[in-house]
């Protein structure tokens, strides 16, 4: 297989990065790999903008009376942090960057099914992001990323319209990307690549795309209605004219709970790739891992009510939402067990991607288990709206999704850039991120149970110790995120040239050169073995070693 490929330095070969030059060749590209890099640049910017806001919040909260900003500004900080991180970083992160880069290569195709639509979705994303950034610099918005009515429709005097429009627009980008992936996975798989030979990353992206296509229109409608209400006072959410503010929460969470899985499912796919590669083992329970992604995609649409247990919903509705929320936990547990079992009798090595993956398993386990506190009605009543929630979803979305994203970026960096990153630095950064993360968010579980509500610009003095701990952790976490930014940039110029398959991984993406040629493969590939055929020669139907 890849042994046949000449591992010449990238400068001497034509590949997607040097096939042509100039701004135009990037801004008008339809190459999925270049579009992936456009996304990478844009969402990295958004990540650090959102991250800077988090740092300001954590500094502010060192003092119970607020150390840095006016409460009004604080409210804008957490709103913009949430909007940036969720709509403009986490939702596009793995799908739009790694998915864009990898889906066509993993299925053995030249590009996505609709390359121009792919470029269009990046432009739509940029328009949405620009609107939101405009909202930020022209005064900011203070509704919370949840836009609850009637505050957002009638009472907020900030840039609600610009932000809502930005989020609304970016939703279309998400829908188009999802659609593109679904069609590509259905229609463009290489000869021999049956559904059950697909890498689990593809299964995860497929499940995610379904949620994106089905769920995003609902949040788009909800946000559209906010716009209507602000402009024309139509009264859908305004109780003064017979509207119902709670209706908005139903619409919003109908999308935004599944959106949690838009953020975490692709991460789970990444983890399956990394764990198998660095333990040189086929995944344990392939079908269980694949189907649990699909189960999550389906059930996640039926649990939105768990965000609303304290709104006064009927006891029976609450019971049903509670039971369904427990149900959605089971497929996640199955995945964790299968990943762990994959390590058994493996040949495990600890390059940076693997450290991120192992960190993911631990943090995701905690994030998932603390979800049970919130699915349980009696404890949710106490914990809802407190820092416990903040801690829980950061364990899932930062401890889970961001760890997986970073793991994936490192794993495929040699393929994307053609260069190796400095592994010592990378391991160090992974360790710092892990420690900083836990120090930041673990105290918040305790704060939540003690009763500290979220979104508080000031707080009673008894909560200070835990807040200071959390802020200290945040500074470590911030550092942990800066280091990869620096050495990844550095590696583009100075990193050692990457071979086609530095990790000796399976999967079509490792059979083409690093970086791949514009058309991805010199010869269209044919798949003759199942995914993760790391076993002894012959066990995966074909030679497992190169």
């Amino acid at each position: 297989m890849s042994a046949a490929l000449a591992e010449a330095p990238p400068e001497t070969r034509v590949h997607y990065l040097n096939a042509n030059y100039g701004i135009k060749s990037w801004l008008l590209t339809t190459d999925h790999k270049r579009i992936a890099l456009l996304y990478l640049a844009s969402i990295t910017l958004m990540f650090f903008v959102g991250g800077a806001m988090a740092v300001m919040m954590r500094i502010h909260l060192i003092d119970p009376a607020g150390a840095l900003v006016h409460p009004d500004t604080y409210n804008k900080l957490f709103t913009m942090h949430g909007v940036m991180m969720i709509f403009f970083f986490l939702i596009p992160s793995i799908p739009a960057v790694l998915g864009n880069f990898l889906v066509p290569i993993m299925v053995g195709a030249k590009d996505l099914a609709f390359p121009r639509i792919n470029l269009l979705s990046w432009y739509i994303f940029i328009i949405g992001a620009s609107l939101t950034l405009y909202a930020m610099v022209s005064g900011g918005v203070d509704t919370g990323w949840t836009f609850y009515t009637p505050y957002s429709t009638t009472y907020a005097n900030s840039q609600v319209m610009a932000t809502a429009l930005g989020v609304f627009v970016s939703g279309f980008s998400s829908i188009l990307t999802g659609l593109n992936f679904i069609v590509t996975i259905h229609k463009m798989r290489a000869p021999g690549l049956t559904w059950f030979r697909m890498p689990l990353f593809l299964w995860a992206i497929y499940a995610t795309s379904i949620i994106q296509v089905l769920g995003t229109p609902v949040v788009a409608i909800a946000i559209f209605l906010i716009g209507l209400e602000r402009l024309f006072h139509v009264g859908i959410f305004d109780p003064a004219v017979g509207g119902d503010p709670i209706l908005f929460q139903h619409l919003f969470w109908f999308y935004s709970h599944p959106a949690v899985y838009i953020m975490i499912l692709p991460g789970m796919g990444v983890i399956s790739e990394i764990i198998t590669c660095f333990s040189r083992k086929k995944i344990f329970g392939y079908h269980f891992v694949a189907f649990s992604s699909m189960a999550i995609a389906v059930i996640s649409f039926l649990v939105w009510g768990h965000h609303m247990f304290v709104t006064g919903m009927s006891v029976y509705a609450a019971l049903i939402f509670s039971v369904l929320s427990f149900l959605v936990a089971i497929p996640s547990a199955i995945k964790v067990f299968n990943w762990t079992a994959t390590l058994y009798q493996g040949s495990i090595s600890y390059e940076a991607p693997m450290l991120y993956a192992l960190g993911f398993i631990g943090l995701f386990t905690m994030g998932g288990l603390t979800g049970l506190f919130l699915a349980s009605l009696a404890t949710d009543v106490h914990l809802n709206g407190t820092y416990f929630i903040v801690a829980h979803f950061h364990y899932i979305m930062v401890g889970g999704a961001v760890m997986a994203y970073l793991g994936g970026i490192h794993f495929w960096w040699p393929k994307i850039s053609g260069r190796m990153f400095p592994d010592t630095w990378a391991r160090l950064a992974a360790a710092i991120v892990f420690i900083g993360f836990n120090l930041t968010f673990f105290p918040q579980f305790m704060l939540g149970y003690l009763g500290m509500p979220r979104r508080y610009a000031t707080y009673p003095a008894e909560f200070q110790v835990l807040n200071v701990m959390s802020s200290a952790g945040a500074s470590i976490l911030g550092l942990g995120y800066m280091i990869p930014l620096i050495y990844l940039f550095w590696s583009i110029r100075y990193g050692p040239v990457a071979p086609a398959n530095p990790w000796r991984a399976k999967g079509l993406e490792w059979q083409t050169s690093s970086p791949p040629p514009t058309q991805n493969f010199e010869v269209p590939p044919v798949v003759t073995e199942e995914a993760y055929a790391y076993g002894p020669p012959g066990s995966g139907r074909e030679g497992a070693h190169d």
């Binding site: 009472y155 109780p239 040189r280 019971l319 199955i334 288990l369 349980s376 009696a378 009543v381 809802n384």
Partner: protein, 332 residues
């Protein structure tokens, strides 16, 4: 059985809980049960996290790569294992669900004898009014050992009344009534917070619950200048806004008599039958046209915008005082 056993064990453990701030004060009849469940879930979380971490660390060391060309054996997926680790989490979920749901269910509705106190959220303060007429802002005085039902609404955006020491919380939503109940078990002073983001002063929407002995409470009530009771205020409004001209007690007016209506079913013109409760009365006053009653011309003017939330609640208190089935506890 299983739950019962776990509970008694936990209770013992809880009584010796150390001084580090892990639990907020435990001061209501509900709090103990919630803490037990919380404690159980914490142990469960730590246990599974520990197990997963231990296994991973063990595998990491035991199966570390010793040479570049190492060839691990083929993965064999074991069906019995898959089934086991699907069933175990399922079973745990069933147990936790049953436990939490039964706790929630039992605490969902206030006891019939609960004393009602009105709470109105407003950017950015809590208005509280006792039936006796005493008004407070960001302070709530209650007697210990007496079930208290808070009937809540909001004048503007959604707020949320949260008393950590009692482990209770409920949104106060504009345009509707919600209720929350508790029975304090300890005298003392406890924080309450607004737990639903409501704008600039959200973090300032906090106050204190003062739990007093019944005697102290009675003395406090007596010593506070209270003016009219809620019912008296309602009666005054009933005359002031001309309700009395149509709603004549003997039923001869242009509107139905309101005497003895509360708690009874009321048929609407479209055939549906609703119970006359707080929500019904609120709608009848603010949107009379949305609920025409057979045999009466729809002539009642709307009072939306003319009466504030407090006045509406006072009118409701007055209508309630006109008799009817004894106040039935209605959970939301």
């Amino acid at each position: 059985m299983l739950i019962q056993g776990a509970k008694s064990g936990l209770l013992a453990a809880l009584q010796t809980s150390p001084g580090i701030p892990i639990f907020p004060p435990r001061a209501s009849t509900i709090a103990g049960g919630v803490d037990q469940l919380h404690y159980f879930l914490t142990v469960l979380t730590l246990f599974f996290t520990f197990v997963i971490f231990t296994i991973i660390f063990y595998f990491m060391i035991r199966y570390r790569r010793r040479s570049e060309d190492e060839q691990p054996p083929e993965t064999v997926t074991l069906m019995p294992l898959e089934i086991t680790w699907t069933l175990i989490p399922t079973l745990i979920c069933v147990v936790v669900f049953a436990w939490s749901a039964s706790l929630y269910f039992r605490n969902a509705n206030p006891p019939n004898a609960a004393t009602e106190i009105i709470v109105i959220g407003k950017q950015w303060m809590w208005h509280i009014q006792h039936q006796e007429g005493v008004r407070e802002i960001n302070e709530l005085h209650v007697p210990v050992g007496v079930p208290i039902k808070l009937t809540m609404t909001s004048q503007d955006v959604i707020h949320d009344f949260f008393i950590p020491a009692f482990r209770v919380k409920r949104d106060a939503t504009p345009g509707r009534y919600s209720s929350l109940w508790f029975q304090a078990t300890k005298t003392g002073t406890f924080h309450f917070f607004c737990a639903q983001y409501c704008g600039e002063g959200h973090a300032a929407m906090i106050g204190w619950v003062h739990v007093m002995t019944p005697d102290d409470y009675a003395a406090w009530l007596a010593g506070t200048n209270r003016g009219e009771t809620m019912t008296q205020a309602g009666e005054r409004l009933f005359h002031q806004y001309g309700c009395v001209t149509c709603h004549v007690a003997d039923g001869t007016g242009r509107g139905p008599s309101l005497v003895g209506q509360f708690g009874k079913p009321q048929k609407l013109r479209d055939g549906q039958s609703l119970t006359v409760d707080e929500a019904f009365l609120r709608r009848a006053i603010t949107q009379p046209n949305s609920m025409p009653i057979p045999n009466y011309a729809p002539v009642m003017p709307t009072f939306q915008g003319q009466l504030n939330e407090e006045q509406i609640l006072q009118l409701i208190a007055y209508v309630k005082s006109l008799g009817g089935e004894e106040r039935k506890a209605k959970g939301q």
